[in-house]
């Protein structure tokens, strides 16, 4: 019980594990993707994110790579500004539904 209380307190103080301080998160649709860069169309416009070897990819709930991203896929991007650019930390995506 005591353990649970301490952990809960830590959770409240620290926020979620992997939380990125001052991060930038968007939801949108992939409009372009390369090994180095991802462009996402959001309801506010278009945003570009640098992809790095550290970027984590998840597609349809499974671990993935940048190569698995396709135009029109829905994505949730968790990013952080670094060295003057927005670097994607984690990219979650879902395969676009066939029309």
């Amino acid at each position: 019980m005591k353990t649970r209380i301490i952990i809960s307190l830590l959770g409240v103080l620290a926020g979620p594990v992997g939380a990125h301080e001052g991060g930038h998160d968007v939801r949108g649709v992939v409009s372009a993707v390369s090994a180095q860069e991802l462009t996402v169309k959001t309801n506010k416009g278009s945003e570009r994110f640098a992809l790095t070897p550290e970027t984590e990819f998840v597609k349809d709930g499974s671990p993935a790579t940048a190569k698995d991203l396709e135009e029109s896929d829905r994505v949730v991007v968790h990013a952080k500004k670094k060295a003057g650019r927005m670097e994607a930390i984690k990219v979650q995506s879902a395969t676009a539904k066939k029309r």
Partner: protein, 201 residues
Amino acid sequence: MLLAVLALVLAVVLGAVGAGMALLLRGGISAKVEPTHAEAVIARKLRSLGIPGGYRRLSNPLSISKEVIEAGRAHFADHCAVCHANDGSGQTQMGRNLYPRAPDLRLAQTQQLGDGELFYIIENGVRLTGMPGWGDGTEEGRRASWHLVHFIRHLSRLTPREKLEMEQINPKSPEEWREMQEDQEFLKGKEPANREDAHHH
């Protein structure tokens, strides 16, 4: 003779006070400054000396198995990852800002510790660091700590799939749960609500 002893005691006290003052002048009580190399070496040595000899010779009494690793992984995700990160790198907001920093558990400084030493640290914590003592004196608690020892050995072989599973277990605030739910609904096709930027502190 008495005078010499008093002089020696005085010199030691003055030296300790001087060292303390130097540390305070260097960074006050801030946890932001990096521990000096000497401080880190002394602290590690003191930690090593502080672990009873009997523990140093202990081997993990639990055989390694898929179930043991899974139990250790779930426990680590729920209890340890907030500071140590799911991959053991220590790269979390908490871990990066502790004094001393949460160590990268995959590196030799941790991996070279014996099973019993890791177990002792998990159970008893380390004074004047962010590492709490998790032991609750129960057999169940001890088994959980031994599971963790196996999992710490496994960290360098952690797969993306395992890391993803851990992310589902990591403690989250109600706001984070809501955002995660909304992310999943969006990915499944629901029209997006604007995603607010994260400003976690």
